[in-house]
């Protein structure tokens, strides 16, 4: 939440968000929507597990259409993600916003979150949020790497071996998707509970601090 350029906000100040974060966030949302919707269609062509995704939730109309979307949106997803990650590492955003994660703080915040008593503090992440954001960054990395190996299992065969061979890579890719979808469900539910968090992601300017109740 804290834009890396800024010092931690003080009471009464507006939390702000860098234009880099806002742009990469929404580009990522578009790319990820395309990837998941088309990916489910591709999955349905030969399901790994004994279920299929409802066709109405998928993109592409048929396998060829879904693949065309998937292999187009992958460029947006990957380039946007690299821009975000590079910027976040270079400016210290990643370290400042998501680290450190301490076990005691995590336990306390998790208990508060699960009992709906966690305060939402614009401009600062609680430990549960930090962990979830780090995990989804890891999940997107995993989806991109395993996706690249699925696309090129001969050219990238050494990576395929690390993931248990071609069929193993399919499972890693599916697991990464599942993790990302679970994150999105929680993420969107939290925004629904604390709608004021949506504005800063759109305009860069948040409500005055503090404080709202929420997860």
């Amino acid at each position: 939440m804290t834009a890396a350029m800024n010092a931690a906000p003080v009471d009464g100040a507006r939390a702000t968000r860098s234009v880099v974060i806002r742009t990469t966030h929404w580009l990522n949302a578009i790319a990820m929507t395309c990837m998941i919707g088309s990916g489910w269609r591709i999955y349905d062509a030969s399901p790994l597990f004994p279920f299929a995704f409802p066709a109405s939730l998928t993109f592409g109309d048929w396998l060829g259409g879904a693949l065309a979307i998937h292999f187009a949106a992958m460029w947006l997803l990957a380039v946007n993600f690299v821009v975000y990650l590079t910027w976040s590492l270079a400016t210290g955003h990643l370290r400042r916003s998501f680290l450190p994660i301490r076990a005691a703080a995590l336990r306390a915040d998790a208990i508060q979150a699960l009992t709906f008593r966690l305060t939402h503090d614009p401009g600062r992440y609680n430990t549960v949020q930090k962990l979830l954001y780090l995990l989804v960054i890891l999940g997107i990395s995993g989806a991109i790497v395993s996706g690249a190996v699925l696309w090129k299992p001969v050219q990238l065969q050494e990576f395929a071996i690390l993931m248990g061979g071609y069929e193993g890579v399919r499972r890693v890719h599916f697991a990464a998707m599942t993790g990302i979808v679970l994150f999105v469900v929680i993420h969107v539910a939290m925004v629904a509970i604390v709608p004021s968090t949506l504005l800063p992601m759109l305009t860069g300017r948040g409500p005055r601090r503090p404080v709202e109740k929420g997860g």
């Binding site: 929404w26 578009i30 591709i42 062509a45 030969s46 592409g60 259409g65 879904a66 187009a72 001969v154």
Partner: protein, 245 residues
Amino acid sequence: MNDTNFQRLVHKRLGRRAMFTGALSLGSLALLTGCDLEDDDAVDRTLLAISRFNDRVQAALFRQDRLAPTYTAADITDPFPFNAYYEEAKAPEIDSVTWRLELAGRIENKTPWSLGALNQLPWTTQITRHVCIEGWSAIGQWSGVPLGDFLRRVGADLRASFIAFRCADGYSSGLDMATALHPQTQITLRFRNEVLPRRYGFPIKIRIPTKLGFKNPKHVVALEVTDRDPGGFWENYGYNRFSGL
């Protein structure tokens, strides 16, 4: 894919013109991107342009000395799945005596090849993974004549860009010359040390372990060396043309 599905697919494709209609009915996506996603032609054109870009990326990544992983006899998938745009019972029945491989395009010696003559050529064997565009994969053992050896033998112009294959079942597929000359690309005559069965492409298939399965045509009857991208059965429906692994 069975016949009924295929009919439905063709109907949908031809009837609706655009490949990607259903993809983009999502209102929120239209709001986010600000694009008129009802314009199927524009969406199709964009996706096809990116698919062509992906062809070039894949061609750049491709290396002739980068071999597909090989496996042991114990890894072979049994039974090996049948796959075509029709049911197994509809696979063509071909007379091995009258069958010929016709040669066309930029080739010095265009004399058609009989099955007996092809069987006289030096051959190699491979146990490799067949990866289907649908996602599943299966390991098989294929034996036959390296396509590059055959092309050199008949005096094909190796500077040409593509090989076009035409098949007895109406199927067709195009192949870039770089992949045609890859050492594992093979005119397959045998599967698991037996004459290539009808369901796997009798009398010959082109086995390409560096390509998705649909780029491995079966029941081949003609081979043309050309500079024009010949497309192919599925390629013309919108599957990525290079489809390398």
